[in-house]
Symmetry: C2
Subunit: 187 residues, 2 copies
DNA sequence: CATAACATACCAGTTGGACGGTTTCGTCAA
DNA sequence: TTGACGAAACCGTCCAACTGGTATGTTATG
């Protein structure tokens, strides 16, 4: 669809498109709706083509999950660069990265929803666990206070609340909550 | 399996057993593994019998989710009864209920994991959203401070960390974290 | 004996994925 | 510049296993 004026094959583009479609299906219809037929159908790519890019369904899911993690890493790194204070920097980066990812409509639709859906598969849970462990080891010097842990947990909770659409909180209350969380990282 | 010395048919027992098996499959193998064949096979009940108790797969999933919510409600209520201080009582009840549910091996294996897996289906997400909204309206008088909200979010995060098995935290650190959370509800 | 609680058999559609074919691409010699 | 050629990118078809669900039993229970 809409290859437009680019005539050359763009395998990376197709690959990304397949991931996007899989992500959209996952967030909108749930895990059970992510089938090879559905992905290939909704993306206009044949199933053979899909299986060329991702040799199996598991490979597709893992690739999707990895791309989400990369996006999160990039967002965290960006947030940390703008933060002069070392103490609790990673925790604040994690907080702001999660907040930033929920809004941007570009690329993968709903980052949080897709992540959640993918976490329902045990194999991908292990990947997440590894990610968490790596980070917590890396920033043990600056982000291991009790309050920092609480802020990170609350960030996960916020992430969870967002994806479930519990929109009972107005923006000002939300902002006060975030301010308070930032404050907790600095204690 | 193991109807033992009870000769009479026990439809409620069978029903509960079916829910347990579905829960175990969900938490151990993920959402994609929860099929009617798998549930009936693993429980020793025929598929016909399964579909007698739950007219469709959706009905089964919804019933399972409802049973989890009931369990959570009961645990919260129990925790709240033991709490003399009105201010922040629901938040503390929520915290302690989630902590209590994760340990007990009886009945449904891993409460958190199953809940998470079920939340990957959009239809069930709506049920959860309703649950949250009801509670937040009911306890608006005692549990609407910023810190209480943070504690509830952190509880969700803790719940999430537990289910992902991020076991990097030792018990003493965990206890200090919980103490701090309780402290925050009392501010 | 009516109804609930199961089991057994069966079905049409879907599933993941294997397979062989066709087009496009990069590259390197002539 | 060309053209050959192997690899990469993709398509269409086929299939066995499985899917959720129905229809029809059989047995227990009140």
């Amino acid at each position: 669809m809409s290859t437009a004026h680019h005539r050359k094959k763009q395998p990376l583009f197709v690959r990304q498109q397949l991931l996007d479609v899989a992500a959209r299906l996952a967030s909108e219809k749930g895990m059970m709706a992510v089938t090879l037929d559905a992905v290939s159908g909704a993306s206009g790519v044949s199933k053979g083509g899909l299986l060329h890019h991702f040799p199996s369904k598991n490979m597709l899911l893992e690739a999707l999950f990895d791309s989400l993690l990369e996006r999160l890493d990039a967002a965290i790194e960006e947030a940390m660069r703008a933060d002069p204070l070392p103490h609790g920097r990673f925790t604040r980066g994690y907080l702001h990265a999660c907040l930033a990812l929920r809004d941007q409509p570009q690329g993968t639709k709903d980052w949080a929803q897709v992540t959640m859906v993918l976490l329902s598969e045990p194999q991908l849970r292990q990947r997440w666990r590894d990610w968490v462990r790596e980070r917590s080891e890396e920033y043990v010097g600056t982000d291991s206070s009790v309050d920092a842990a609480i802020v990170r947990l609350a960030t996960d909770g916020l992430w969870l609340a967002d994806l479930l659409g519990s929109r009972d909180m107005d923006e000002s209350a939300r902002q006060r909550l975030i301010d308070r969380l930032v404050e907790l990282t600095q204690l």
